[in-house]
Symmetry: C2
Subunit: 227 residues, 2 copies
């Protein structure tokens, strides 16, 4: 694979993915796509810039989709200023399947955009950093979702895009392990959904990240750093 488009948020998973595709898949012409959609953790996109530079991407396309966050109105804790990002420990059992941090149909939208970008440039392969979640789940991070999305895109007779999510069956510690082997600078990745000066440590994303670093018995270089 010579060229690929990668959805790069600047979080732990997609940053690892970027370096994984470059080094493990030996793909040297990388196009990173970063989307500003009014997420509270907008600061992740600063890390995306750093990671794209570190990976020597051919292009880093940043897209302003702020209207999308506004359009989502009260439908997601990631975009609604009045809905707090919950601590993972406060989620009720019936919230674990698509918790309040779910953004309606965001992944299809972003992948559709990435596929359009790829097709316009004659690129076939698109990557996104979906991971397995141990304690909650999103319908648009599942193997079925990927399979069905590829079934749609495969109908394009002239230029069928193929979506890949190589971390889809891995938990965060497994992804982190790969990234450490690849030398990813995790001080320059951002995960906390609350997006304040310091990681909150209790939102679903923080808990997963902390658990992953703890499982590997190492300190998170982004903690206490006030990125």
């Amino acid at each position: 694979m010579k060229s690929a488009v990668i959805l790069l948020s600047g979080g732990l998973d997609s940053s690892t993915l970027l370096h994984y595709v470059r080094t493990r898949l030996n793909c040297r012409r990388l196009h990173a796509l970063t989307i500003h959609y009014g997420q509270k953790h907008e600061r992740e996109t600063t890390c995306a810039v750093t990671q794209a530079r570190a990976a020597g991407v051919e292009a880093h396309q940043q897209v302003d989709l702020a209207f999308f966050g506004e359009m989502m109105a009260t439908a997601s804790a990631l975009t609604d200023p009045l809905m707090p990002v919950p601590a993972l420990s406060t989620l009720k059992p019936d919230q674990l399947d698509q918790p309040p941090t779910y953004v309606p149909n965001r992944n299809m939208l972003f992948l559709a955009l990435a596929a359009a970008y790829a097709e316009a440039r004659g690129i076939t392969d698109v990557f996104y950093g979906a991971q397995a979640h141990d304690r909650y789940g999103y319908w648009d991070c599942t193997p079925k979702f990927l399979e069905h999305m590829n079934a749609v895109l495969g109908l394009n007779r002239r230029h069928a895009i193929v979506l890949h999510a190589p971390f889809m069956l891995m938990g965060k510690s497994e992804i982190l392990k790969i990234g450490l082997e690849l030398g990813v600078n995790y001080a320059e990745t951002w995960s906390c959904y609350r997006g304040k000066d310091q990681p909150c440590g209790v939102c679903p994303s923080c808990v997963e990240r902390r658990t992953a670093f703890a499982a590997l018995h190492i300190a998170d270089p982004a903690e206490g750093r006030g990125l």
Copy 2:
């Protein structure tokens, strides 16, 4: 069906669809979604405003996706200032399957956005105005495309969106016939891809429209009007 989201460009098909959903399907809470993506025939969106008003929609959401047209670069005659919109008669046989007026993955992108909009508002049904083309075709206007898109969206356990394209197997004259019965004001719809003061009469969209009006032996009220 009480509520629905309708992708409304302001062209003949989607304008007819809007009134069809309101009157034939008796759906009274309509949300129209109009997308400005840098199309040369941007003037169609002025007609979208008129039609949305005429149908008494509950909301008309207009979205600025100008970056998308720029991102498509030289990939579509609808968005590239340097690529002329071809006359239908000049298309070579191998261009009839996805002619230069095809915009890479646009329909998936717009439908993904419409589905997100619907989900955030608790609406289930989304409509778009895909039609059958007699002399050329787009992969993302086919029953297979619709079926596979619905297979993806059906995976959403909490809020499965259903996409509908009731005109998908109809040619333009059939759609026009329905719209005339519904009293659609076709003076306030725009089809010409070239988007100049007057319809060019030769681009694929104009040829289809003219053929449809001719088949019904009536004059097109938008012709010579200089909308």
